[in-house]
């Protein structure tokens, strides 16, 4: 009888009702929770991931400190973006685990007691919703969570857009934006969540040098204003070395070097040197 009761539990029903997306049920966010943002510690322990016969991640170990800007560098196809997707539950590892402030992302929320942090991600393609305006994109999460009345939400949207240099563009259509503007709207959308952890996947891809500089300024300013942990995946060497507190270098699914930008610049590892002292896009050879 006891077993029968367990089978028909609310928890099992909820799991069954989310069997397609495998997403946890949506939780409300209180104003207090929203207003307190802090940097979180991210620990990646022995992470493995294989697609078909190709092992994309081969035992990744990283410890990212609260509030730091951490960049993951490396050539295309080394598993950087796949690694990033593990940090926001878009991928599940074959082995190993990801801990955010000690909470294992692989465990069901019922076991961990729910997330005590918020994360957001800026995608390489920006991933804005074309059917919504710029303002609606930025305010989507706030409206879905119904944390504040509409008037306050509009103010937050205005503030976040101003922060990324797009003040007054709320009513623009996404299709009318340039690549750089889209990227900045995507950042504003992430910031509207007031996250504890923000992830950038190739933030400078398709951006011209001036917009790249503006983006670097935005991320830098954010660091001064908000104490959030930032993880950047990029193959834009100068951008990552300029912004980051620490950098990890990936090659063929493995982390081959971790250190401050200076340590990376002066690394003796031939693979690191080959990546950073390229002829056209790297630093000037020593």
């Amino acid at each position: 009888m006891r077993n029968k009761a367990r089978v028909f539990s609310r928890e099992n029903f909820s799991r069954l009702a989310h069997a397609f997306t495998h997403m946890p049920p949506e939780c409300p966010v209180s104003q207090d929770e929203y207003e307190t943002s802090r940097g979180v510690r991210v620990q990646i322990e022995n992470l493995h991931r294989t697609f078909g016969s190709r092992e994309v991640l081969k035992g990744i170990n990283l410890d990212i400190r609260p509030g730091e800007i951490f960049s993951i560098l490396g050539p295309s196809g080394t598993g950087k973006s796949v690694l990033l997707k593990h940090l926001v539950r878009l991928q599940k590892p074959d082995a190993g685990r990801v801990l955010i402030d000690g909470i294992d992302l692989n465990l069901p929320l019922t076991e961990t007691g729910g997330d005590t942090f918020r994360y957001s991600m800026v995608f390489q393609t920006s991933a804005l919703f074309n059917s919504l305006t710029v303002g609606e994109n930025v305010g989507l999460w706030l409206r879905e969570k119904q944390i504040y009345p509409e008037k306050r939400i509009r103010r937050i949207i205005r503030d976040k857009l101003r922060l990324v240099g797009l003040g007054g563009r709320e009513s623009m259509q996404v299709s009318d934006l340039s690549g750089g503007m889209k990227k900045r709207v995507a950042i504003a959308r992430s910031l509207a969540m007031n996250p504890d952890l923000i992830l950038y996947d190739e933030p400078t891809a398709e951006l011209d040098p001036v917009t790249t500089d503006e983006l670097a300024r935005v991320i830098e300013e954010l660091k001064g204003k908000v104490n959030l942990t930032t993880i950047i995946v990029s193959h834009d060497l100068s951008f990552a070395l300029y912004l980051s507190d620490r950098v990890a270098m990936m090659h063929d699914g493995e982390v081959i070097a971790i250190g401050t930008p200076d340590e990376i610049r002066h690394s003796k590892d031939p693979l690191v040197r080959r990546f950073i002292y390229t002829t056209t896009k790297g630093l000037k050879g020593i």
Partner: protein
């Protein structure tokens, strides 16, 4: 050969299971319909108002053709007065729900697959997940609810227009020559509330098929622009097939 059949059977079972899981998750989120009312209304207007003119036109001509073909044969035996009942029953139980559903599947189901598919390919659904928004609630639930509401209305509209078309041909065509009052009396006598309900049940089920297939195929889209194109075709073919198969079983069940 056996291995191939086995693989296909396994894939079919897997897809069926996933579609059922999607249906269950979509039904679960009906509780949040109020939150998504704007999107539901948008979908309803896109499916309903957008389809109305073409559905009306098609139904009118189907009723006319039905009356012309059947009426001329009945006239050979002098039983053409039954034309009202035949057109009425055909439109209420078969042509109304099936034709409008096929039309919606071609017009809206394909668009759903393309829209959701593009969102899948261009990481918008991943972005939605990172924003803690369940894509099934945000995308599939409003579409299913809109189809469930609009398809029966379109089926009734189609029945009325089809019956009207049949009536016009029956009275105007010199071979059939059935007065409108006789046509109407016969139609009303044959088509009772049960026959209308029969059509409404079918339209509701077909509406669910169109929305579910469109969204499922969209969610499963991979491979860029080419993948989106393939999904659009797949959604239309799957919907047509499932509607026709479901039509047979529903007809058998409600006989």
């Amino acid at each position: 050969m056996l291995a191939r059949i086995g693989t296909i059977a396994l894939q079919a079972a897997h897809s069926t299971g996933e579609m059922l899981a999607l249906l269950l998750e979509t039904l679960y989120y009906f509780k949040d319909a109020r939150r998504n009312r704007r999107e539901i209304v948008r979908q309803m207007s896109e499916i309903g108002i957008g389809t109305l003119p073409i559905a009306g036109m098609i139904s009118l001509f189907i009723g006319m053709v039905l009356a012309l073909q059947t009426g001329s044969q009945l006239a050979l035996f002098g039983t053409q007065e039954a034309i009202g009942a035949i057109v009425g029953l055909s439109m209420a139980k078969e042509f109304g729900p099936v034709m409008t559903s096929l039309l919606v599947a071609g017009r809206v189901g394909s668009a759903m697959a393309a829209e959701v598919g593009a969102m899948q390919v261009y990481e918008e659904i991943d972005a939605m997940r990172t924003l803690e928004i369940n894509p099934v609630r945000y995308l599939a639930m409003p579409r299913l609810l809109a189809c469930l509401t609009v398809l029966p209305i379109l089926a009734v509209f189609s029945f009325i227009l089809g019956a009207l078309g049949g009536g016009i041909v029956s009275s105007v065509n010199p071979v059939i020559n059935v007065p409108p009052t006789v046509y109407y009396d016969n139609l009303v006598r044959a088509v009772d509330i049960w026959e209308i309900l029969n059509g409404l049940v079918k339209a509701t089920v077909f509406g669910a098929i169109v929305a579910q297939v469109g969204c499922y195929v969209g969610f499963k889209t991979t491979g860029g622009a080419r993948g989106i194109g393939q999904s659009t075709t797949r959604a239309v073919v799957m919907s047509f097939l499932m509607i026709i198969i479901a039509d047979y079983f529903l007809t058998r069940l409600m006989m």
